[in-house]
């Protein structure tokens, strides 16, 4: 039982204190049983406050520490480390969330928010009284790392790992590497060909002894957790009639680089699939790249006037894909410039919703304006209309750059500037239990603090599977993810949280309900002392607590969140 608890209540520079009367909270808890110190602080996470906390622990001989601040997702680790520097067991630290769950949630009710904050802090104090010292589980980690997807991000992640003397297994579903990039001609900003870029990266990678490349291969199942994943891989037969090969590999960490898909317009969306003069951006890029001669031709027809309709499948006001796909503006402008340079008589007409050539890419926009490209801008509620008049294709648009005038033009080709969408095949995400964001791309833990990590320990995300990115942005993300994966397992040993489920084998009489409830396959039936009982695999268990309430005989407890601790919290809250 803790008897010398220190409580810190954070203003969060106004994030909390603008809505919660932090001083009132302090006064309400300072005389609670066991509390010997209660302080408010402007930024609990600041270096100076951390130093003060360490000094307080020593000076006041504290045996329990509570910080009431933001979500534990942000700073649980920060304050556990502070507790440890004060020479207390870091798992005795208790975190109270009075920002996301109080001040932000109840910004319209300051009195109520303050009341709730008092309750939340008191509950944390109740838990702190029972908090026991815990010790992390240590185990050996497999040092090989798997990279799933061999597009530009996956290839670069593999090189980065190989450079660090790490063994890499690179798994690609297609029979070739290079993803979308390999299919592209001239790239914006460098004018290098996509295929050449992939060739030079792949020729470097393929010579490396510590990289094992599996093309035509799919991951079909995954077991285990950080340090010890077992991936089952199915390799498609290279020659028809050959048997399907399956293999198992053991890896310590996984870099997911499964990329994106081009948005595919619905039939009739801007006359797509109804008018054969309407094509998508990737098809147009391919057409321009593969065509030779002085005049651009499509379907045997000479092409002079080209209308580009922007934001097809991106920035949608209705339905999905509310996001901006970020690469398309620059990509289409670059291709339009290429087209004009390569073929005679081209007039480019850009029907856009505001050009987003951010950063140095702006220079391409300026170049295209100088070359005489026309830019017309429409509002999201008045998209351009495309219709046939005999064999002619006519586009009408309400152009806000000429005060909303309706303009009509006859064009030879309409290019739908399609954006990036998440892969339809979500099997990897489902298998690895990766969370998705509102945009349906895989989500990082925190955009700024942990931008390539996922909530599943040991699994990082790289490139466009996380959201639209151009090539150099994908590479930056891939190298970041590779380094993170490397740092998980490079030491060869790993520590996992001691907060795991614990089964009382005296009481348990295996009914299997806990195993059914476990989302991580961490519970197995085993015979212990001649009796069938549930056994927890502590390196897989995440301490989520799903198993504890379903046990009919109350044989499972969660270390760090024992029934005793929870009951004491509920009593305070009730």
């Amino acid at each position: 039982m803790k008897e010398r608890i220190g409580v810190y209540i954070c203003h969060c520079g106004g994030n909390i204190s603008d809505y919660v009367d932090v001083e009132k909270v302090r006064q309400a808890v300072q005389d609670d049983e066991g509390v010997v110190l209660a302080k408010t602080t402007v930024f609990a996470c600041s270096d100076s406050n951390q130093t003060d906390m360490v000094n307080d622990i020593k000076e006041h001989n504290l045996d329990g520490v509570i910080v009431s601040s933001c979500s534990p997702k942000l700073h649980l680790t920060t304050f556990r480390d502070v507790t440890e520097r004060g020479e207390l067991n870091k798992y005795t630290y208790v975190h109270a969330n009075i920002r996301e769950q109080v001040s932000w949630a109840h910004s319209d009710d300051k009195i109520g928010a303050t009341e709730k904050a008092i309750h939340v802090v008191k509950a944390a104090i109740a838990k702190s009284r029972y908090a026991k010292p815990l010790y992390p589980n240590q185990f050996e980690a497999e040092k090989t790392i798997a990279v799933i997807g061999a597009g530009i991000a996956g290839l670069k992640a593999a090189i980065s790992l190989s450079d660090k003397n790490s063994n890499v297994v690179l798994i690609e579903k297609e029979n070739r590497v290079g993803g979308h990039t390999a299919t592209w001609g001239s790239l914006f900003m460098t004018d290098e060909r996509g295929s050449e870029l992939i060739d030079r990266i792949y020729s470097d990678l393929s010579q490396r002894e510590n990289v094992f490349i599996l093309t035509g291969s799919e991951v079909i199942s995954s077991k285990g957790s950080i340090g010890n994943f077992t991936l089952k891989i199915r390799k498609k037969p290279q020659i028809a009639g050959d048997p399907v090969e399956t293999m198992e590999i053991n890896v310590g960490s996984i870099v997911v680089a499964t990329g994106f898909e081009h948005y595919s317009p619905e039939e009739g969306e801007f006359a797509f699939a109804q008018n054969e003069a309407v094509i998508t951006l990737p098809n147009f890029k391919q057409l321009v790249d593969e065509s030779s001669g002085k005049v651009l031709e499509y379907n045997g027809k000479k092409i002079k006037n080209i209308a580009y309709v922007y934001c097809v499948g991106s920035r949608q006001t209705e339905g999905e894909n509310k996001y901006c796909s970020r690469y398309c503006c620059t990509s289409v402008i670059h291709t339009a410039i290429e087209t004009k340079k390569k073929f005679k008589g081209i007039q480019n007409i850009h029907l856009n919703r505001g050009i987003r050539t951010y950063g140095k890419q702006e220079l391409l926009y300026a170049e295209s304006l100088q070359m005489g490209d026309l830019y017309l801008q429409f509002n999201d509620d008045t998209p351009p209309e495309i219709r046939n008049e005999g064999k002619k294709t006519v586009v009408t648009v309400k152009d806000i750059l000429s005060a909303g005038r309706e303009l009509e033009m006859e064009v030879d080709l309409v290019v739908l500037v399609t954006g990036m969408v998440p892969r339809k095949d979500q099997s990897i995400g489902k298998m690895l239990k990766l969370p998705k964001g509102r945009d349906k791309f895989y989500n990082e833990v925190h955009m700024k603090l942990r931008p390539v990590e996922t909530v599943i320990d040991g699994i990082t995300i790289a490139g466009t599977c996380q959201g639209p990115k151009n090539i150099s942005e994908s590479v930056n993300s891939a190298l970041s993810a590779a380094t993170k994966s490397f740092s998980y397992v490079s030491k060869g040993t790993l520590e996992t949280e001691p907060i795991v489920a614990e089964v009382d084998h005296e009481v348990c009489s295996w009914c299997g309900k806990c195993a059914e409830a476990c989302p991580f396959d961490a519970i197995e039936k085993q015979e212990v002392n001649g009796k069938e009982v549930a056994v927890i695999n502590t390196s897989v268990c995440k301490g989520c607590g799903m198993c504890t309430p379903v046990c009919p005989v109350d044989a499972i407890d969660l270390i760090g969140y024992t029934s005793e601790e929870m009951k004491s919290m509920i009593e305070v809250l009730a």
Partner: protein, 434 residues
């Protein structure tokens, strides 16, 4: 000049903003010894001075201060503040020799308790650069409340050497005998994370910055809404009035050849939208208008953030501001072409915020011998293999992170830092001692 002290580290990281800090942490967590050199008095760069950050509205300090604290405490990282790298020469593949000048702070950081008695005693007042000139500070001062190291500094240029600070200091940590220290660093790899500078709108006289008190920069507004803000509320500097009508002038010094910057600065649209949202929270009755050419909300969650601002009632007007004039009462008249209506209009605002853009930081230009380090036409560090290895520079073993290569937002800077750290770790692994 004194003989330099010889020191040795695996890696030198120049610049301790968010990119440099992230790079140093990545290297240090992999076991390498890092020297992190910062010319300013605190770690954290520009980010530590921001209010909240888009598109998540996390408070910048909540993200920066723990990182900064981790850096300062890391056993593999040594931090030099008030220091500049004056020259780097590459002797061989993994031997760079750097000359470092560490200026005196006139305060022994380890002994200072940041009690601020010196600040109270100091009779000299000057403009506070950390509050971007909105208020004053003393010549003996703590840079800002969440600075790291949190210790006093003596601004020797403005100090009158009256000794008042020294007399009140309870720990005798003020020491006017401190001298510039010189170091010769031997290191195996170098990461440049020297960041950017903000455009100075004095270059566009028609906006009246510097002449009209109620025309401020976006960084000044950032300080007004930050938790460590100077006024504890939002005021216009001219007369201290709480503004009701605030205008944002986008592309101030960006996408503008007349001031020599054809680039888009990439961050201004988003930080302006963010400030507008924060201002709507702080001043619920105020009207916020953003004058723009194009809104560039391109990153993850950015477009949604833009739409959110619109639905909150922020007014977006398509049209670039041509000129700002001041009325007798300090109110401002903004003249612009309303693109949607195709007419030139004027609008009155209490205050105008110039959304200033990103310029290159000129300080790294000359530190490499023989111009070995290449730059782009706007003096950002050139990326030799933009698509394949974005953090490689023209010198093998020298990498670049964050906005030293061009405009970038915080998430991209952090990924770029991860990338530079990855390349540096690979380089160190491949060039181990032979």
């Amino acid at each position: 000049m004194k003989e330099p002290k010889i020191i040795e580290y695996d890696a030198l990281v120049i610049g301790a903003g968010i990119a440099g800090g992230e790079t140093a942490l990545n290297l240090a967590n992999t076991g390498y010894k890092v020297l992190l050199v910062e010319k300013d008095h605190s770690l954290g760069g520009k980010m530590i001075l921001l209010s909240k950050v888009f598109p998540t509205l996390d408070c910048a300090a909540c993200i920066t201060t723990p990182k900064v604290s981790e850096i300062a405490r890391h056993k593999n990282i040594t931090v030099f503040t008030e220091s500049e790298v004056t020259n780097i020469s590459k002797e061989s593949a993994n031997n760079f020799v750097a000359q470092i000048t560490k200026k005196p702070r006139y305060v022994h950081v380890d002994d200072c308790t940041a009690c601020q008695l010196c600040e109270q005693a100091c009779p000299v007042s000057v403009q506070d650069e950390y509050q971007y000139g909105l208020i004053g500070r003393k010549a003996a001062y703590i840079p800002f409340s969440i600075a790291n190291p949190k210790a006093a500094v003596i601004d020797i240029e403005n100090c009158t050497l009256c000794g008042a600070c020294e007399r009140v200091c309870p720990t005798q940590c003020i020491d006017f005998t401190m001298e510039t220290e010189y170091y010769e660093l031997h290191t195996k790899t170098v990461v440049l994370a020297t960041g950017f500078t903000l455009f100075d709108p004095i270059e566009i006289p028609r906006y009246g910055y510097g002449r009209y008190k109620n025309v401020i920069t976006s960084m000044q507004m950032e300080r007004e809404i930050a938790p460590t803000r100077p006024y504890n509320t939002i005021l216009r500097p001219g007369d201290g009035k709480v503004p009701d009508r605030i205008a944002y002038v986008l592309c101030a010094g960006s996408r503008d050849n007349t001031v020599g910057n054809p680039n888009c600065s990439q961050i201004c649209c988003m930080y302006s939208i963010k400030q507008a949202q924060l201002l709507m929270g702080a001043l619920p009755m105020a009207d916020i208008t953003i004058y723009y050419i194009n809104i560039r909300s391109f990153g993850k969650g950015f477009e949604e953030f833009y739409q959110q601002a619109k639905s909150m009632g922020v007014e977006f007007v398509k049209g670039k501001i041509g000129e700002i004039t001041e009325k007798d009462n300090g109110d401002l008249i903004l003249r612009y072409e309303d693109i949607n209506e195709g007419v030139v209009k004027e609008a009155e605002h209490d205050m105008a915020v110039l959304s200033v853009g990103v310029r290159s930081n000129p300080t790294i230009g000359k530190i490499f011998n023989n111009g070995a380090l290449k730059f782009d036409p706007l003096n950002f560090v050139a990326q030799e293999d933009l698509m394949g290895s974005p953090s490689k520079t023209s010198i093998k073993g020298v990498f670049v992170a964050g906005t030293a290569t061009g405009p970038m937002d915080i998430p991209d800077s952090i990924l770029s830092a991860g990338s530079a750290a990855s390349e540096a770790i690979s380089y160190l692994t491949q060039h181990q001692e032979v």
